[in-house]
């Protein structure tokens, strides 16, 4: 484990914990955001017969770096009538919420921020902070558009947490653990041990699980899309209606915080979907390190597979975003309360029955 290594290196538990808590940010989220922003622009461009950024570096690979430099130089505007304190706290809170989720996500067998037993529960709970941040931002900006955006966002995020949790409960019923690390370890071996293919159970039960697991996956994927406010659920920041929703009044680095939080969130939810249904960091075909007999290579492979799966789901999010129009706010609520929640409930019941027998 990385923590033990850091403990040996620094000789102090506090220093080791501190470094470890910052690792995902600097090793993972920042580089990921850099790549994902560029990726989004390139993916959208190629879907739309464009080239996208081409000027900064080869095929525009340094575009995001240039953008960040631009954002840092921008004036930090705080409007006169805004509630200054809330206005300044909001972006921090939003980012904290999405960053804290990374604490319980196992990047590989050797690296998990904090191996807490209530991992999944923790993630769901701490994501709630984002809502508070969004509401604060919308209220503090003292602008009708931001307020509408914030209200919509709060309603949306809270509603869509319910189907997510229902699906998570389904998984917990089968595996009996909320710990993401244990959950990933349960799905070890080949890809047919992933939860989407019935998990570690065997025989007829495993086959019986598969259709319900697929339903669960679809529900959780749709709900997480809504939770991170991506198209077709990007209603809080619907640019054609609300300019850009709750962060309309933000500029410079505070805007960048929202932006970073959005991309961090995109990966976080993809990672949760991957961890719950697609084996987390487990390789689908077994490890090269095992067959070559190099044990230290396995965590690196696991890290690769985890990133691969996460980015795959992020790419699907991008693909959806650039294909679909946006739902209306009442339709969005109807989708959640009239379809997703009942289906998730029935799914939960059936899986429960199968588990009992």
């Amino acid at each position: 484990m990385i923590y033990d290594f850091l403990l040996k290196l620094t000789g102090s538990e506090i220093a080791a914990g501190f470094i470890q808590s910052l690792l995902p940010l600097f090793v993972f989220i920042l580089p990921f955001a850099l790549i994902a922003v560029l990726l989004e622009r390139k993916v959208s461009a190629h879907m739309q017969d464009r080239l996208g950024p081409m000027r900064v570096g080869y095929h525009g690979i340094f575009q995001t770096v240039a953008d960040i430099l631009k954002l840092m130089q921008k004036e930090d505007i705080v409007t006169d009538n805004s509630d200054k304190a809330l206005f300044n706290i909001a972006p921090v809170l939003v980012f904290t919420g999405s960053y804290a989720a990374f604490a319980a996500i196992p990047f590989s067998g050797a690296f998990i921020g904090s191996n807490i037993d209530l991992g999944l529960f923790f993630i769901v709970a701490v994501s709630g902070l984002v809502v508070a941040g969004i509401l604060m931002a919308g209220w503090a900006s003292n602008n009708k558009y931001t307020l509408l955006g914030a209200m919509r966002s709060a309603a949306q995020v809270i509603s869509y947490e319910i189907p997510t949790i229902l699906v998570i409960i389904t998984i917990v019923m089968i595996t009996g653990t909320l710990n993401l690390y244990t959950l990933s370890e349960l799905q070890t071996g080949h890809f047919w041990n992933w939860m989407i293919f019935g998990g570690p159970s065997t025989g007829l039960i495993k086959v019986a699980f598969i259709p319900f697991m697929i339903i669960g996956f679809v529900i959780i994927y749709i709900s997480t899309l809504a939770e991170v406010n991506r198209t077709p659920f990007d209603i809080p920041e619907a640019e054609s209606e609300l300019v850009s929703g709750y962060h309309t009044e933000y500029s410079g680095m505070k805007f960048a915080m929202f932006f970073l939080a959005e991309y961090a969130n995109m990966f976080a939810v993809s990672a949760i979907v991957a961890a719950v249904f697609f084996g987390g960091y487990q390789s689908p075909f077994g490890y090269l390190g095992n067959s070559l007999g190099i044990s230290w290579f396995i965590p690196i492979e696991q890290f690769f597979w985890f990133t691969f799966k996460g980015i795959f789901f992020v790419l699907v999010q991008m693909w959806l975003r650039w294909t679909l129009p946006r739902l209306r706010v009442d339709q969005l609520m109807a989708l959640c309360w009239k379809y997703l929640i009942p289906i998730a409930f029935v799914n939960l019941l059936i899986v429960g029955l199968i588990t009992v027998f």
Partner: protein, 371 residues
């Protein structure tokens, strides 16, 4: 204790991403429900009608281009039709055919913008760029014809500024088979998309009676199920020589006259325009396009009203001549202006998000409204 509620006034625009220019809508809200819409216009007012009085007749043409900048060709077409009626001159057949070809190409280009921006308004950004990709092809055709891509000054009183480029007919013929599959692509990507239908069907229903009472024309009127097209009902130029259908809204996804119908009428009209262009290219006669251009335009005392079916509806020009080289009065009947006036009627009881859907579906151009 009852909770005191009050209505909120939300200003949408003039700087708003989807007011299609510089329109300001004053929305009276109760929560997210619209109680009333008051459009405020005039941010793009350029005194066109007053300017025209100080100009000679041919000098007005470049100004006409700038009215509805997405259908400049058709604005010129309408203006010269009016002036020619006033002068009583016959133009050569070739000129009429070229005008029709240009007009219909312009109609497709304009509808592409309408459809594309409508998609973008509803959150689908990709169809927008697909539409602009195809519009580029049409603009290139205009460019080889007259050198300009947006404001052409191509159709002159009594003729055209240039004859067609030698390659034009070939390129236009190539465009038709290129574009037909793109309409299907647009349908697959946007028109029949479940979310898109959810957003537009049964939203902003415009009953035919209301449409007639307000004087709405063009695709908005046809979307309400009325078969009224000046190309067929009051034929001008050579439109009586072509075989084409007039698509009307049928309420396929919801109620007749909803946003989806208005949108889909435009899709179908592009198909019909292609048919007209195809026939016009086949029948295109030879001849001189500048022979009938008068040296000096000095109409007799009198007045005239001429109307054409531009991509947005009935574009009418009312011109009064006092016998001098300058028009005494040029009044434009702008279809967008009239379409905008039904906004309040359409939006009541809907949500904020629907205002965008409705505004996009009536396809206004502020240049024409404010003039």
């Amino acid at each position: 204790m009852p909770v005191k509620t009050e209505e909120m006034i939300l200003n949408m625009g003039p700087q708003h991403p989807s007011t299609h220019g510089v329109l300001r809508l004053e929305l009276l809200l109760e929560g997210e429900i619209i109680k009333g819409v008051k459009p405020h216009i005039g941010y793009l007012h350029r005194c066109f009608e007053k300017h025209a009085e100080a100009m000679t007749y041919p000098q007005v043409i470049p100004y006409v281009d700038r009215l509805d900048y997405l259908s400049s060709m058709y604005n010129e077409f309408g203006y010269v039709t009016a002036v020619e009626k006033l002068l009583g001159i016959e133009v050569p057949q070739r000129v009429e055919y070229i005008r029709v070809i240009m007009g219909e190409l312009q109609r497709i280009a304009s509808h592409l913008v309408a459809i594309g921006t409508y998609g973008a308004d509803l959150g689908a950004f990709t169809p927008f760029l697909f539409a602009f990709r195809d519009r580029e092809k049409i603009l290139s055709l205009f460019e080889i014809t007259c050198g300009a891509r947006l404001l052409y000054n191509y159709i002159w009183i009594g003729g055209l500024s240039h004859d067609l480029h030698p390659d034009f007919v070939r390129l236009a013929r190539e465009f038709i088979p290129y574009f037909r599959p793109k309409i299907k692509e647009m349908n697959d990507l946007l028109s029949y998309n479940k979310i898109f239908v959810e957003r537009t069907a049964n939203v902003g229903i415009l009953p035919p009676e209301t449409a007639i009472n307000f004087g709405v024309s063009g695709p908005n009127l046809r979307g309400s199920g009325l078969k009224w097209d000046l190309r067929r009902n009051d034929p001008y130029s050579v439109y009586d020589k072509f075989d084409f259908n007039i698509p009307v809204g049928e309420g396929r996804m919801g109620t007749v006259g909803d946003c989806w119908d208005r949108y889909f009428v435009r899709i179908l009209e592009m198909e019909e325009s292609l048919k007209i262009i195809e026939q016009a290219l086949d029948q295109l006669p030879e001849g001189d396009v500048t022979s009938a251009i008068p040296k000096r335009v000095k109409p007799p005392i009198g007045q005239v009203y001429a109307r054409v079916e531009n991509p947005r509806g009935e574009l009418g020009y009312f011109i009064i001549s006092d016998g001098s080289v300058n028009p005494f009065r040029v009044k434009v009947r702008a279809p967008s202006f009239i379409s905008l006036s039904v906004m309040d009627e359409l939006c009541r009881g809907h949500m904020i998000a629907d205002v965008i859907a409705i505004l996009g579906s009536i396809d206004i151009v502020l240049g024409e409204i404010d003039r």
